[in-house]
């Protein structure tokens, strides 16, 4: 079954949240309405309550590139998605395209996770593949990496992703708010949301590992 059809099936089962996005059907039930979750009530009114209306998925990348304060959202899991817009999407294909711009590969990763086919990469595997100036990141100690998870990841540090990876095959992440986080933003149940998944440490985390590794040497 295609990703779009599986998405449709999920929506029919009551899923309506992914990251900071709320997915609704429009009043006439002929298209999907995507908005920031905090704008969900306005997005559900006939005139969209003054929200800026976007037709089709084409503007999804622009909407997700900068935060409200103009800063670059260098990882898409950041919980600083801009508000004030609504996107009308005619079908599941367009909805899927939009979601993959807001949260790259979020659906495919979730379905593979559900199917038990998601290949998860340890931090050591990720760091060992780095090139150029980031090669030094691999020298970070386990203790340094564990500390960094608690200083960089999770909702306390504006990341909405559920971490799936370990430090290495035998070393789990230490218990913390970051390692326990379920990847679901807001007060909704697991039955209502697609969690954002972190199958490999992001490039921001790698960059932080490099800094921490340098500090360890000093």
């Amino acid at each position: 079954m295609s990703t779009a059809l599986r998405l449709r099936s999920l929506l029919e089962s009551g899923i309506h949240r992914i990251g900071e996005l709320e997915i609704q059907a429009d009043a006439s039930n002929i298209c999907y309405i995507l908005s920031h979750m905090a704008d969900a009530r306005l997005a559900n009114t006939p005139s969209f309550g003054g929200l800026e209306v976007h037709h089709g998925p084409a503007d999804a990348r622009d909407l997700s590139t900068y935060a409200e304060d103009g800063t670059y959202r260098f990882t898409k899991g950041q919980t600083n998605l801009k508000r004030g817009w609504v996107m009308r999407l005619e079908n599941e294909e367009d909805l899927r395209l939009a979601l993959d711009q807001f949260y790259p590969a979020c659906l495919g990763l979730f379905f593979a996770w559900q199917d038990g086919t998601l290949e998860i990469e340890t931090l050591r595997e990720k760091l060992d593949r780095q090139t150029g100036m980031y090669r030094f990141a691999r020298t970070i100690s386990d203790a340094g990496a564990q500390k960094l998870v608690q200083e960089v990841c999770g909702p306390a540090h504006s990341c909405a992703k559920k971490i799936l990876w370990k430090i290495d095959p035998n070393t789990l992440l230490d218990d913390s708010e970051a390692s326990r986080y379920n990847g679901i933003v807001g007060d909704v149940s697991a039955a209502e949301a697609i969690p954002l998944l972190c199958r490999e440490a992001c490039n921001h985390f790698v960059a932080e590992c490099r800094k921490a590794a340098k500090a360890e040497v000093k």
Partner: protein, 310 residues
């Protein structure tokens, strides 16, 4: 190194494809509106296209061209799906596998030259072992990077003509500029090839030369390299990122210090620049050209012809 041996043994175009223009694809003359000659590509409604870029965690403009190329190809409805993936942005190359429904995938590196990334990093990240690789039931076809395709010649000439309308090529030096590094000769080969092609094309430029940020001949000495009153500089990069938009303008002397990102300024709208006794025209990066989407399709067409993968 294992990858290099495998592609050599398998006859992959990275090693065996002729690099030089063979005369069957004449470039246009820059003084005229360019009618770019393109190969047609049959629709592949059961296949996916995966465009691979470098990306950046710091510069939001870095990945813009890749998404624009994907949007343009998506509009033409040639593929069942079109996706992008990156080394330094999301989705990563490793995540790309989960993006794609189709069983057949054409992978095109949206890179300007062959080298470390196209020959080692991308194959490793996507787990490719040759020109065509089966991975968990999906078939991946690995095409050459866009920058080495012969149709890039037309794009350079088109861009040079657009930035300096009405300027006689006979009084103009065309400089194609790139990063350059002593670490990898392939990084400059694509530029040197384009210089040769344009010089032999009859485009009429008084001179066509290459110049680099970090190796000789240095772009900073552009006014010494060029003996003509007019100079057109085309940056051979995919995006208007740090180098083409911030570093090179300083080296050319049209900016005094590194400025803000491309999306926040309008540097290319201030041509021409009258400096160092010459008239200088500076274009945006060649990869930002909308027709780069066609070069991606050309590489797929070449792959099919060479490997009969249709």
């Amino acid at each position: 190194m294992e990858w290099r041996r495998l592609i050599l043994d398998s006859g992959h175009p990275l090693r065996k494809r002729p690099r030089r223009w063979n005369g069957n694809y004449p470039p246009c003359i820059p003084a005229e509106p360019c009618q770019l000659r393109r190969m047609s590509i049959a629709a592949k409604p059961s296949s996916a296209l995966l465009i691979v870029g470098h990306g950046s965690t710091e510069n939001p403009d870095s990945s813009t061209p890749y998404f624009e190329h994907a949007d343009e190809i998506r509009r033409r409805r040639l593929f069942a799906e079109v996706h992008c993936c990156f080394w330094k942005e999301e989705p990563s190359m490793r995540e790309a596998f989960y993006l794609i429904d189709s069983d057949e995938i054409y992978v095109v590196p949206d890179f300007i030259s062959e080298g470390y990334f196209t020959q080692e990093v991308i194959p490793r990240e996507l787990q490719l072992t040759g020109p065509t690789t089966k991975i968990r039931g999906k078939t991946f076809h690995y095409c050459l990077p866009v920058g080495v395709h012969r149709s890039m010649t037309d794009l350079i000439l088109k861009r040079a003509a657009e930035v300096a309308p009405g300027i006689d090529p006979a009084t103009t030096t065309l400089i194609i500029t790139g990063h350059g590094t002593g670490l990898n000769q392939n990084s400059t080969k694509a530029i040197r090839d384009q210089v040769d092609l344009i010089a032999a094309s009859g485009a009429g430029y008084a001179a066509v030369v290459d110049a680099y940020m970090e190796e000789q001949p240095f772009i900073a000495a552009w006014n010494e390299i060029a003996s003509t009153p007019n100079v057109v500089v085309v940056p051979f990069f995919i995006s208007d990122g740090l180098h083409s938009f911030q570093d090179i303008p300083v080296l050319l002397g049209i900016e005094s210090e590194v400025g803000a990102a491309a999306s926040q300024r309008e540097i290319f709208r201030h041509n021409p620049h009258f400096i160092r006794g010459k008239t200088l025209y500076y274009t945006s990066a060649i990869g930002t050209e909308r027709l780069m989407a066609d070069v991606i399709l050309d590489q797929i067409s070449d792959f099919d012809q060479l490997h009969k993968a249709v």
